[in-house]
Symmetry: D2
């Protein structure tokens, strides 16, 4: 599914490294590999042991960091962040890591996820004298840490974490320590690795591959890691709940070369495609996927169905932010950008178009029309996940319930809406068969709230 | 195969449009869809009927043309060009179309291909008083046209074309006409289409799809088209030779959604992959391709062999020109960019890695090592075309014979060089079975010179 | 004197406007006219009545604000700031106005000056739970305001101001009010004007001239202005001390077309030059000044002495930040930038070179050598102010005492150091005659601390 | 006078250097010092001895040349050019030096001036087979040189020069020689200097000062210099006419620190101001000049009249090309940019406003109004040169006769038009007294055609 065409935004990415001679460079390459999780802005904070240096900016990693500014970021510990696009005039302020300096030292914080009680916490903190310069949950955490009084910093951080509700994967950096924290449900992914003598953490394992690090394990739900020159130590801040990893990380967000809890994402998606073929066998000539996130599922569908897999849709490689959009009249004349149907492949064919997920239906509508205009005789839209019917409060920027098509229309209405000859979804049961259920014991539990409305955190169904 | 890693450059692209109210806009979108053929620079010249306006620059189409400069390019006829990277300090001068102004009117010229007698022509023209400001073959044509004396312009162009040897697809624009010319062997692709009442020509049909134009036919070898307000007329400048379209356009250069002489490129590549599977069945676990140009062949191989097709290699989407390259020491520490092997897919597997073509072997060497480091137990490299043994004089920027690996080593040596468990090529015979032979009568002849050394133009084997 | 060549940085500038339909535009032009006070960064915050919108950035006003971003800054009240260069990797955070948002509304703050107790305040505030993201004194004020508890905002601001020591000219903006505050000594300049129905405040009156506003009066020392839709009201937060305006505003910082307390800066400088001629008549052929800040004094010296005033030194107009600096070897070969001596004017002449002030002596040394190389037979350096011997704690970024040449060397040593035939300074007495003394009753008192060591605020001599 | 406000454009600048280890760097700094002669574009061509390397671009010298591109320009001989603004979409093509390559070597050409027979030459050359890619006279010269046939290059250049009519200062560079040519009347300035063992030529001597070169002499009218490793040789292509240097170079174009034929420009302008005071003594309070070009004349007027010289007008330093222009309504509200009157100086005063020249009267009108709005009781406009009544064909981009105010209105009408209390011009006689007459024998002849209509080249009054 094309991110541009729907209300499903990517989810930020965090990275941390400790005890590496090129900590900032490693962060740069790692953020680059996490760039699909956020393109609005990025930042790196590095510690020299004595002080924290930051570089942040709006734009892609390659735009924010020049060779010159990288030279200034010297140190052996660092954290970094990529941020997804939210618009607004105040963009820069919200670029993370946020950096707070005090007479006794600084602290930098980067966050992936979404707190469900941030507004309550802000009101409480403002009443107690806090003032806020950003909209970031990371600033809420910083104020809570400060509220912890005169106890040592790690104690204050742990206390602050107990005040939070919702989803979070935090990395925090001081002059002399790297801290890592994951929420009690492990809603967002976070992996731990080794790079020579250095420890690394990242939202996705593809960051490890790029910098040549080896995967050690997932960070556990509720875990709090302290990493410093004397080594790594682990504690649990909240009682360990069953993990409830966001299923959409498998379905859409993560890169196909990442592993989530040891499962390769491409392979998982391919299995979803195969399961889709078992649930919904369809008589057709070719199978095609929507680049890039649906290709794995389409390959799986084709393999299981025995139908040929084809490149029926091509995504343009050179459309950038500076592209001059065609005017309305040009668009009506047929000027198509970003994605085009391959006539030579679909003309005269019955086409199965596999997409990874279904939010507003806009992509499906456009692609179905495109394929028909290119000569497809039938277009069958098959979605390799269940319909999204419930809003997400844990960091996935879906629409509100009123905008979620599947929350408001039945299958027949949706099929008519998109103009396809058929529309089918993978069932929740099949999805669980492939990816694991919310109740898995062995750390493989999932959050399926957007499909089922069963939120892992009690009370969130009333938010 | 990754263009960055080898001596095989893309081949420029041309576009022309006549009688369209948004001629420059159409050129902009068309050049955008042809961008894979050249990223160094691009230009558009438009005619208002009275005068020619140009905009050219170094960089991507999106960088050269701003909304502001597009507003100035008003007119109903236009030509455009994208140019591939050749480096050098004098880049701008060589960006096309070249524009020549005289007291009696101007002429703009854009060229795809390579003349084999351009040096002789330059010496002759210089002896007769011509001076040159660029290295472009288009400037040679301009001087020849001027040498034609006082006869009408179309006559002078046609005479000038008869002086040329080698490969060319030209578009020429004056205040009141669009001319199109293809060399007698049709070595480079050039298609004719309609967009409402407008005529369009483009190096590839994907440009037509983007702007909503319909394909009419190929421009014929040796054909000379005159397009003006009274309509289109066709002549043949040289006696019509059998077409000898560059086989590498199918194998590597063209976009998978383009059709060449009615054959879809993706489909052709997939057939090459299937043929490869027939010629070289291999016992293995997974099939993977090198993004982006080899994916079709890999899918074909998988389909024919019954082995699963997997995304074993991932290309980074966000590596741009401003990327900070890892230092040698970082590279040795394992920092990988642009392309990475997917451990979750290849670990413990016997991998068939399909690539489209084989020039210097550098890509194959790197990818083989990458796959083995990611845990592949065997790596079999299968190339969906024959080895390139002979230099190209017709516009494909291959290396000289001494640098072409296959011209200097035998199969065993090459396999050892790249470190693969096996290395196999598609045979010339199988390639001809799929794509057509040099001797095809029905306009489907191919140039296979880089594989066979049989150059379609007599004498070029002695160049 | 050339700012680039010495440790004397310009001093920020602030602007505020209320009740103008183009509040942001007026701020843009005003900041442009205050640009000489700071080139590192600038920002504007505007209120729509309901919410605050900000735009800030590093660079010149013309670089930070594009036509597109100005369109978004709609509202009838605004404040703006230009910031002088301090370097550092964390530049953006310190660009003002700072903007603080809370559930009950926002507040934006811009500051010119320097608090002498900011470190104590930070320590105290941190102990009470505040966390800091910037180095700006404006953030200290914001936290103090928050500490004021539940009393109405104006009360809290006034209480916060009573906690501050040192120099400040503040503008503060909420959704519905503009507040203005000047420290009890009026160390930094701040003027009030009218623009139609709108109120405006600015660090210098040149901002009023540019936007067509009329000057009303100076803001008084210790004054606190509240400006809202119901009009302007004035209060005094501290008991009104005698004004002690920074003498260097006349000597160096302010633009020659600004008026400080009704006195035109060019005219004041010219008078300083005349006084210098009276104190130090010298037999010579020509008088010249160092562009741009010393020209007025040089003109005054020439007029009083009867010697011809000449353009003996030329400043380059096109040297920008992107200029490629000559290498050391080129510099030794004689490549001169930014400033050059006019051979045709000084050759064979006895030259009086008037400069406005004397900090490190670097400029004088370079210019004396330049003039001699250009053929001057004698170079007499005359400084139109007394030697700077004491550090400033009120916002002028002078060097520490150990770096101030005049604090460490006597006149003869300094003359030898710069290689001039003579070196003379205006006396403190003459300066007071022209500009007013520290003890003036009629609001014309000056701070002469950097010349005399008599700091207006008790205790600052022990800082 | 402000260039922005009138039809009087600056006139390009050329530079050449031979036998210097940092030839390109010297060109860079020299072009920088000549930047006032042209801001649209600039270029440098350097020879390594074997080949020519070029770098050109639109924009200021600092924008065109980066540190990186300067590194590539290695060689010991170079020429450079700055070009004034003419607009047009085809800007780049006209940026000089033009570079022509042939199989036997290249030639680069840069030009300052204007040929009066370029159109005839183009028609002739086109008839003989030449084709043109630019509007530059330099391209005409290149074609003429090529027409010279098989004779050695210097002979061909000399023959080509004899075909030219009008004004030119040419520098030409081949792999092994630097050629310099000045038209038979020496209409444009061109000086010769030494820099260690290297020869340098430049449009103005300020370029010599910046790079530490020493002035040798003027290039003579009609002179042709050949500079190569064996030394410099001089010839005269045309019989030596009396020099007729453009008087406007003294009045307006050249930098005040340049010397023209040994006369310092600032000093000459000051003398013009003194002469103006003698011709037109006026009872007033202050004298002020229009920055920057009129300041010298104003200083001279003040000195001769005994009236005080004041900074009554201030030019903004930070208005750049990216400045957001005030809308018409804002302009009517009084927003003033670029130039402002200093109220503190002119209020209640009778002001003499000295300007260097008078073309369209727009500047005078605006400034007079500005001064009156700032409180001046009388404004007397005194122009330090005669009225411009005739068009220039030699490179000064004045308006056509119909647009030259002084060609169409009498003194009284012009005074009323600009709203001044009086308007006076320096007489042609006084100008000649100061600067020299058209008939000077001693190489000090002037072209006064724009004042008198007496064109030095016979027949140009009928152009």
């Amino acid at each position: 599914m094309l991110a541009e065409l729907r209300g499903l935004n990517e989810e930020c990415g965090v990275f941390g490294v400790w005890n590496h001679p090129s900590a900032a460079q490693m962060s740069y390459y790692a953020l680059h590999s996490l760039q699909h999780r956020g393109q609005e802005g990025s930042g790196i904070v590095v510690t020299t042991g004595d002080s924290l240096q930051a570089r942040k900016g709006l734009g892609l990693v390659t735009e924010v960091f020049t060779a010159k500014c990288m030279e200034k970021l010297q140190g052996t510990g660092a954290i970094g962040h990529v941020r997804y696009s939210v618009g607004g005039t105040n963009g820069y302020e919200n670029v993370q890591p946020l950096l707070f300096r005090s007479q006794t030292g600084g602290i930098a914080i980067a966050h992936n996820g979404n707190l469900t009680n941030s507004l309550e916490l802000r009101v409480m903190l403002e009443n107690e004298g806090s003032i806020f310069q950003t909209d970031a949950d990371a600033e809420v955490l910083a104020h809570l840490i400060k509220r912890g009084g005169n106890t040592p910093l790690p104690e204050r951080i742990k206390w602050a974490l107990t005040q939070l509700e919702g989803a979070y994967a935090f990395v925090l950096l001081t002059e002399t320590e790297l801290y890592v924290a994951l929420d009690p449900y492990g809603l967002r992914p976070l992996s731990l690795g080794k790079l020579g003598d250095a420890w690394v953490v990242a939202s996705e394992t593809c960051a490890f591959d790029l910098i040549g690090a080896t995967y050690e394990r997932e960070v556990y739900p509720g875990e709090f890691l302290t990493i410093k020159d004397t080594g790594l130590s682990s504690e649990f801040v909240a009682k360990k709940a069953s993990r409830a990893l966001c299923a959409m990380e498998y379905v859409y967000f993560s890169r196909p070369d990442s592993n989530l809890r040891g499962k390769n994402v491409h392979t998982a998606r391919k299995k979803l495609g195969k399961a889709l073929a078992q649930e919904h066998p369809i008589e057709a000539d070719v199978v095609t996927g929507v680049p890039d996130s649906s290709l794995s599922a389409a390959i799986g569908y084709a393999e299981a169905s025995g139908l040929p897999y084809e490149l029926g849709l091509i995504k343009s490689r050179y459309v950038g932010r500076t592209f001059i959009e065609p005017s309305q009249s040009l668009r009506e004349q047929g000027v198509k950008l970003k994605l085009s149907a391959v006539q030579g492949v679909v003309k005269g064919k019955r086409v199965i178009m596999v997409d990874d997920s279904f939010v507003r239906g806009t992509t499906s509508t456009r692609i179905t029309r495109m394929l028909k205009e290119a000569g497809a005789t039938e277009v069958h839209v098959l979605i390799a996940s269940p319909p999204i019917k419930y809003p997400c409060y844990y960091g996935m920027d879906t629409l509100s319930a009123s905008e979620l098509v599947a929350a408001n229309y039945d299958l027949k209405e949706m099929r008519e809406m998109i103009g396809a000859d058929s529309l089918r979804f993978l069932s929740v049961d099949k999805l669980q068969e492939v990816l694991g259920s919310p109740n898995s014991r062995d750390d493989h539990g999932l959050c399926l709230a957007c499909f089922t409305g069963n939120y892992p955190i009690k009370g969130d169904d009333h938010v």
